[in-house]
């Protein structure tokens, strides 16, 4: 009569495991490794970073992390009074937390940049923009990488 007990235990175990998975999935945005946090602090210093206004576009599933098309767009009229001053992008698990820091101005007309990036591992990528009024806005995207970049050695 040990078989039913074993099944029940397994069922309970799976239910518990599912619960843990859910808890992990809804972890807060601030739960990022220290180096990225530090890099972000260097840019924003003590200012609060709010969510919104900025949109980071990355494919959710990437086959090859050596070259990933990335696009960052900020919702801004880009006038002399109200424009985007800078766009910064950070990674969580690359060997080095910065990706790009772009300086824009009212002459840009449209706050949108595109480039191709390297991503070493499955991770979240954070884009932060600095507006002319001194406020900071952010967007976070989770990316799954099949083949990572940066760390492989030459054959």
């Amino acid at each position: 009569m040990s078989a039913p007990t074993a099944t029940a235990t397994r069922r309970q175990f799976l239910a518990a495991a599912g619960g843990v998975g859910l808890v992990l999935a809804v972890r807060p945005a601030e739960a990022t490794p220290a180096s990225m946090k530090q890099a972000i602090r260097q840019v924003v210093s003590e200012a609060a970073v709010k969510r919104g206004k900025i949109k980071l576009d990355l494919p959710p599933l990437v086959e090859n992390g050596n070259s990933v098309a990335m696009s960052v767009t900020v919702d801004s009229p880009m006038t002399a009074k109200d424009h985007v001053k800078a766009i910064h992008v950070f990674t969580e698990k690359n060997p080095q937390p910065n990706i790009i820091s772009a300086q824009l101005g009212p002459r840009a007309g449209k706050a949108e940049i595109q480039t191709r990036v390297r991503l070493a591992d499955t991770q979240s990528v954070v884009a932060i923009c600095e507006m002319s009024d001194g406020s900071f806005w952010s967007d976070t995207v989770d990316v799954i990488i099949t083949l990572g970049a940066c760390l492989e050695d030459l054959p």
């Binding site: 080095q96 790009i100 772009a102 002459r107 840009a108 949108e112 595109q114 990036v117 390297r118």
Partner: protein
């Protein structure tokens, strides 16, 4: 060392129109985190900065890091204000610099 560049700027634009500028430069962007086949680290060799000026006035600047893919491709936008020259400059490790320019006619 001369690098090949590819610049895409519309040759003609209306005054006040927002134009897209696409730039590409050939560069290995060696991260400095890799090792060669006998285990020696390969030194870092990347482009660290990119600047675009429109008739001498700076309109876009970017600091690049190891996380930018080889052959950096950057696109951005600007308002076509007057006819003239858009000049681009990339600078990097080991004294790397490369210039390029494109003409634009604004009517």
């Amino acid at each position: 060392m001369a690098a090949r560049t590819l610049i895409n700027v519309p040759p003609k634009a209306k005054r006040g129109e927002v134009i897209q500028i696409k730039t590409l430069i050939s560069h290995i962007m060696e991260t400095g985190f890799r090792h060669d086949n006998v285990g020696r680290p390969i030194p870092r060799d990347i482009i660290t900065s990119f600047v675009c000026t429109y008739n001498g006035e700076e309109i876009f600047k970017a600091a690049l890091y190891q996380a930018i893919a080889a052959n950096p491709f950057i696109t951005f936008h600007t308002v076509a204000t007057e006819s003239g020259t858009l000049a681009f400059q990339w600078t990097g490790d080991n004294g790397f610099t490369q210039d390029a320019s494109a003409k634009i006619t604004v009517e």
